[in-house]
């Protein structure tokens, strides 16, 4: 089955990184590690990757980047404890424990 998504790594510099005209025509999904998912075989998506100097990644390469960031964040969350604090209080203080992310083909 032909892939429907493509991935790249690009640092979000802020204003102008994604324009309204682009998001009206392309579905963007941002992931940890500056990983971006956009449609495959799409001229607008390819132009956007060129604009942001995105470094193309396979899905597996992108998954490795995302998983490494999540693993580090999960370890930090597990290690961040306060004596006497309940699990509910910890979630209120830190937010929920970062969940695993599985990228789509």
């Amino acid at each position: 089955m032909a892939k429907t998504k493509q991935y790249c790594v690009a640092e979000n510099w802020g204003k102008g990184f994604i324009e309204h005209i682009e998001s009206s025509r392309i579905t963007f999904k941002g992931y940890p590690g500056n990983v971006w998912q956009v449609p495959a075989h799409n001229k607008g998506a390819n132009l956007w990757i060129n604009k942001v100097l995105g470094v193309p990644k396979t899905k597996d390469q992108a998954q490795v980047i995302v998983t490494a960031i999540i693993d580090t964040a999960q370890d930090a969350w597990d290690a961040n404890n306060v004596d006497g604090e309940s699990s509910a209080e910890k979630i209120l203080r830190l937010g929920s424990k970062p969940a695993d992310i599985t990228l789509e083909e």
Partner: protein
């Protein structure tokens, strides 16, 4: 292939400049730029905005898309205060009492910050501070201390509602004191709010029950109205009781909905899902999302816009 004249009965207009007030669906050819354009109605899309100077979660926001404050948050000393001008954030004077998970109301030059939590104490806050565009000044406290509270209104007429633990208490600020008024029907925390005044406000989402409950405040009572389409807590919200935007939320939600005074409508997703984020905006035409997580505190800003928009024919 049919052509425009066959379908519409008229030719595409040739204009030396874009029309000052085109109508939705109008098509024209700009003879100066040699570009064909048309006016469409954009139901809602997000674009990147300038990044926060300090990435953080559980911050408060208030103001408009082009004049917003990002207040407090999870990063020590929890007192950072930044101003957005539509393209970039600038650091301003800090809160007197650092905290996260606080509520806010008002504008970028006349704001109110209230409640919150300081993890280093750890202590839930009832502190209230007012912002005059330059400095924060401590004023009278909330009657009920709480964090993960929501709020709306101005810095002289604000409403604070909900908060930990699943509070339904509502308090009204008159510029000097907080007064307890009628409760939310559904007590909750991690909810969002919208409203230009303390007499017409909207509370939506949160962690209680299905997380989609919406209530409307008429200055005296809360009334349940139509639910969000997507249940969620830790979301952002902005606008008024008749023109609001809800976005993001727990589990890194990207979904965005607009409220027209009666119903929520799903519109374009955020580019990056996040929760515990900051929010600002005057109505459904323009909103701002900033900060939040996961997995790490974010400095990203996204700008939401809806309404008439000029597009270019032939563009991919």
């Amino acid at each position: 292939m049919s052509d425009y004249k066959v379908i519409h009965g008229t030719k595409v207009q040739n204009l030396s400049s874009d029309p000052p007030a085109p109508s939705t669906g109008q098509v024209w050819y700009n003879t100066t730029t040699n570009i064909a354009k048309y006016l469409v109605f954009n139901p809602g899309t997000w674009a990147s905005g300038g990044n926060l100077n300090t990435a953080r979660i559980q911050l408060a926001g208030t103001g408009t898309q082009t004049a917003a404050l990002a207040i407090g948050g999870s990063v020590s000393p929890l007192a950072q205060n930044e101003l957005y001008n539509g393209s970039a954030w600038t650091e301003l004077n800090d809160l007197n009492t650092g905290r996260s998970s606080l509520g806010a109301s008002g504008t970028s030059t006349a704001a109110l910050a209230f409640g919150g939590f300081n993890a280093s104490d750890p202590q839930t806050r009832d502190d209230t501070e007012t912002w005059n565009g330059t400095n924060w000044t401590e004023v009278n406290n909330l009657n009920t201390e709480r964090n993960l509270i929501s709020g709306c209104g101005t810095n002289t007429a604000a409403l604070g509602f909900g908060g930990v633990p699943n509070r339904n208490e509502t308090e009204l600020w008159n510029g000097t004191n907080w007064t307890e008024v009628n409760n939310l029907n559904t007590g909750r925390q991690q909810l969002a709010g919208a409203g230009a005044t303390n007499t017409a406000s909207l509370a939506f989402g949160g962690n209680t029950g299905p997380g989609e409950v919406t209530e409307l405040w008429n200055g005296t009572n809360w009334t349940e109205v139509n639910n969000l389409n997507t249940s969620r807590r830790e979301l952002g919200g902005s606008g008024t009781s008749t023109s609001a935007v809800g976005f993001g939320g727990a589990n890194a939600r990207v979904q965005t909905e607009t409220w027209n005074g009666t119903n929520w409508t799903s519109v374009g997703d955020m580019a990056a899902g996040r929760q515990d984020l900051g929010d600002a905006g005057a109505n459904t035409s323009a909103a701002l999302a900033f900060g939040g997580y996961p997995p790490n505190p974010s400095n990203a800003t996204e700008e939401f816009n809806s309404g008439p928009a000029v597009s270019t024919l032939g563009a991919e």
